[in-house]
């Protein structure tokens, strides 16, 4: 029944209980006994089940069998190979069996966890093991390829996470390219006034780090820049970066500020001031910006719009204004990449019943941050949209756009603490009444809950209930001229209408609007909510499925400042450990052409997504360049005479795997029919 004459191999089968994860549903003892008996003809010489195959004892069990029983092939039926394939490959290698002679089949994620019927789950496990045994006999030893690691590192995103990562790496002596899309590094943290729970000044703790990053001899700072293209693989990335024209000659600019003082064009700043304040058409986002050079906002600059003005040019003492400057395209070589691209704020206009954008005195959390910032548009005063009136009562609404399937299903994590901080700031700055509307109070960080208790003590009114609507339609004279927050006080069980002067929406955190494109550019994947996916949620939180590409901070999921900084440092440590190795192993499963049978029709060449296949004119044959081949096998799917094959995924292997599963399924059918 085998596709070609089946090779004689000595195969060991190991069935993992995974505690009760597998054994609770699959009858593992029965499965291993069955494999030892029914699959003997296929070469199985030993079959065992064990509580935790991935434990050191489990691995030793395999290693001992390899040595004592002379196993030439190993099959492990356990969890997903994405989790433990490397573990068992390494165990095999230690005992002298080439790691590619090992096969893993998934009876946890794809069997015991998804099947209700225990008998059916056991049968499925048998079929999957038979498939793996079928396949493993045809597997061939492969030698891994090693490539040297380029010690330079790319860090994308200049928020607190990216700055931390860049500094850690630069301090160790390696070179970092730090790319930031805005004119200055600093990110969201630079917009805040106070940080929870310590209430220390955000700028005071961030500015020194920004300065260090801007002046480090090992950091090339590329602001107002974006990554356009990424090619290559771990150790050998080639990155194309667009350095957008600032229209400022950086070698001449001293950052004196005359240009933005003199610029007559005032525009709303939607980024740094969160739309609550203004900047000029030539600007630095904030006084402590790093680098100090301004940029000209071409879309709003009078000169670009009308052809006249040039006030900045006239007054610039060093002649640094360059209206004809062009974008620069840079190509850098790096060995590793850290993505720290941060988050976007949920757009509160999407919730019509909260009236943001329609009702003037409804503000977002980021607007409120700017309002409380001493360097912000109101110089730190808490006022209504008219710019002067101090509110006597403020409602702060949690979970805006978070924990809501209509918007974002997840908890944004930071909003509870942020809202409590706002309550404190309102009390401190206005002495007015504060209402907190929350669903559940989540304060799990160090000294976070103490902060919550402090705010209660300060007199904030806590109302448990998700706000239904905010309206200016009064039902009662006492409500006239106010914003009315309509809510069910769920602890009382009654609907309440609370009139206030101002509402602050604690908008949730979202993945960047272009996260998907960025992920695609760097070859990583996004979750359904567009957050970047880490390699393992617990054990490998900053690596990704793409070797050499790491994620840190809020681009991976909502995070507060301490967690972001920790991840930035963690990613840096991972990168440094790779650089320290000097070289790295890459996938050995590449395509190969059988020259004897290749007819030179060039179909594989056209079908390769990577231009990895060459046509040898002299021989009239195709040829795979191993270093370029990524091992997708699309060429194999194309080749009519099957002259091209993919190592570790050959037709023999796949057909034998399929037959193993089919035969077992059929044998159950026969037994049941009898």
């Amino acid at each position: 029944m085998s596709p070609t004459k089946r090779p004689k191999e000595r195969i060991g089968v190991y069935v993992c209980h995974c505690g009760s994860n597998i054994a609770g549903v699959v009858d593992v003892a029965e499965v291993s006994a069955w494999a030892g008996k029914e699959l003997e003809q296929d070469g199985v010489v030993v079959a065992r089940d064990y509580k935790f195959m991935c434990s050191s004892l489990g691995q030793e069990l395999i290693e001992r069998d390899i040595k004592e029983k002379g196993l030439t092939r190993v099959v492990v039926a356990a969890c997903s190979p994405h989790l433990h394939e490397p573990t068992f490959r390494a165990a095999c290698a230690r005992a002298g069996v080439n790691p590619y002679l090992f096969e893993m089949t998934n009876i946890r994620e794809q069997d015991s966890w998804v099947t209700t019927d225990k008998i059916e789950a056991t049968k499925k496990a048998k079929a999957l093991i038979a498939a793996a045994v079928g396949r493993v006999a045809y597997q061939k030893p492969l030698e891994s390829l090693y490539v040297p690691i380029d010690p330079n590192v790319l860090v994308v995103g200049g928020g607190v996470t990216g700055i931390q990562a860049a500094l850690e790496i630069a301090n160790s002596g390696q070179h970092v390219y730090l790319v930031e899309r805005e004119p200055s590094i600093g990110g969201h943290m630079a917009q805040f006034d106070k940080t929870f729970p310590t209430l220390d000044c955000s700028a005071c703790i961030l500015t020194p780090k920004m300065f260090d990053a801007g002046n480090h001899k090992n950091i090339t700072l590329l602001t107002w820049s974006e990554v356009e293209k990424v090619e290559g693989y771990i150790g050998n990335f080639t990155v194309t970066i667009r350095k957008r024209a600032r229209y400022i000659d950086e070698s001449l600019c001293t950052g004196c500020g005359v240009c933005w003082e003199k610029c007559p064009k005032k525009v709303v700043d939607p980024v740094f001031e969160a739309g609550l304040g203004y900047r000029k058409a030539v600007y630095v986002p904030f006084p402590q910006a790093v680098p100090k050079y301004p940029v000209i906002d071409r879309e709003n600059c009078t000169y670009y719009l009308k052809g006249t003005c040039k006030a900045c040019e006239k007054f610039c003492p060093t002649g640094a204004i360059k209206f004809d400057q062009q974008d620069e395209i840079l190509t850098v070589k790096v060995g590793n990449i850290i993505l720290a691209t941060g988050y976007d704020l949920f757009d509160a206009r999407k919730i019509p019943n909260y009236g943001y954008g329609r009702l003037p005195n409804v503000f977002t959390s980021l607007e409120f941050e700017r309002m409380t910032n001493a360097a912000g548009p109101t110089l730190g005063k808490v006022v209504l949209r008219d710019g002067v009136t101090q509110p006597k009562s403020v409602a702060i609404i949690h979970c805006v756009g978070s924990r809501d399937k209509n918007y974002n299903n997840y908890c944004s994590g930071i909003c509870c603490m942020q809202s409590l901080k706002f309550a404190h700031l309102v009390k401190e700055k206005t002495g007015g009444e504060v209402y907190q509307f929350y669903i559940d109070m989540r304060t799990p960080g160090k000294t976070y809950d103490e902060f919550y208790q402090r705010i209660i003590q300060e007199g904030a009114n806590m109302i448990r209930g998700k706000v239904a609507e905010i309206t200016d339609t009064a039902r009662h004279p006492s409500e006239e001229g106010k914003l009315i927050v309509q809510v069910e006080d769920t602890l009382v069980g009654k609907q309440r209408r609370i009139p206030v002067d101002m509402v602050v929406l604690s908008a949730g955190l979202e993945a960047r609007a272009d996260a998907k494109e960025v992920a695609q550019k760097f070859g990583i994947s996004c979750s359904a909510d567009d957050w970047f996916i880490e390699r393992h949620p617990k054990l490998d939180p900053v690596a990704t499925m793409t070797d050499g590409v790491f994620v840190a901070g809020a681009c991976q999921g909502p995070k507060d400042i301490p967690a972001s900084v920790a991840q930035g440092a963690a990613a840096a440590a991972r990168v440094l450990s790779i650089i320290g190795q000097g070289e790295i192993e890459i996938e050995a499963a590449t395509a190969i052409v059988d020259e004897a049978t290749c007819v030179g029709c060039k179909e594989c060449i056209a079908s390769c997504p990577y231009q990895a296949i060459q046509y040898l004119e002299d021989k009239g044959k195709a040829y795979v360049q191993e270093a370029l081949c990524k091992g997708c096998g699309t060429c194999v799917g194309t080749c009519l005479p099957k002259s091209i094959s993919l190592k570790h995924f050959t037709d023999e292997q796949i057909v034998a795997e399929m037959i193993g599963a089919m035969q077992t399924m059929k044998s159950f059918e026969t037994v049941e029919a009898a």
Binding site: I439, K466, V487, E488, T490, Q495
Partner: protein, 200 residues
């Protein structure tokens, strides 16, 4: 043993079999109601235009369903106060089909005979009697009949009579029942089969 049940009742505990109440409601609601997903946030109760007049807010009803408080839920006026405005449904962060659940609770209340104030259910009954016999509804006859059944409603509404007269004069509405649809026989068969299926 009976003593033990009393003890449980005293302790505010409901008999265990009623923990199936939530599931029952879910099963009896058309489509996927997501009713078990409630996070008790109160968006529904806060949104409800009739919330002020309800015994329990919809949120509280979901908590009571979870607790298996069958009698309290089915005797509550909450579902009967629902005006089908669907604010709760579109705002619910868990996408619970709250309005549809209210219909289910009304169905269950009527079937179990636990309805406390029958004004609303009788109105529905009167309404569908016309539909089941004529295939069409009959607004003016409906209002009249409904007020005959519930004279205290009419007392509460002394202005009802002029309005009914207005219907006849201003709108030229007919005081006669609607014309029966042609396919009444077929419709009756359909409804009969549907009722059997509902009972199954």
């Amino acid at each position: 043993m009976p003593q033990m049940i009393d003890e449980r009742a005293k302790a505010g505990l409901t008999p265990e079999e009623d923990l199936s109440l939530l599931h029952e409601v879910s099963m009896k609601t058309a489509g996927d109601s997501h009713v078990e997903m409630c996070i008790q946030c109160g968006t529904c109760g806060g949104s409800c235009p009739a919330g002020m007049d309800m015994d329990h807010t919809p949120r509280a009803i979901f908590a009571m369903l979870r607790a298996g408080m069958r009698e309290a839920v089915l005797k509550s006026n909450t579902p009967w106060m629902c005006v089908s405005c669907y604010y709760c449904t579109v705002r619910c962060p868990q996408e619970i089909h709250i309005t549809d659940v209210m219909y289910t609770l009304k169905n269950m209340a009527v079937q179990s005979g636990m309805v406390q104030d029958s004004t609303a259910s009788d109105f529905s009954r009167t309404f569908i009697n016309f539909v089941e016999n004529y295939g069409r509804s009959f607004e003016i006859g409906l209002a009249g009949l409904h007020n005959l059944i519930h004279p205290r409603l009419a007392l509460r509404l002394p202005n009802m009579a002029p309005m009914a007269i207005g219907m006849l004069t201003k709108k030229g509405m007919s005081p006669l029942p609607p014309k029966r649809i042609k396919g009444m026989k077929g419709l009756k068969k359909i409804l009969k089969r549907a009722k059997e299926l509902e009972a199954a």
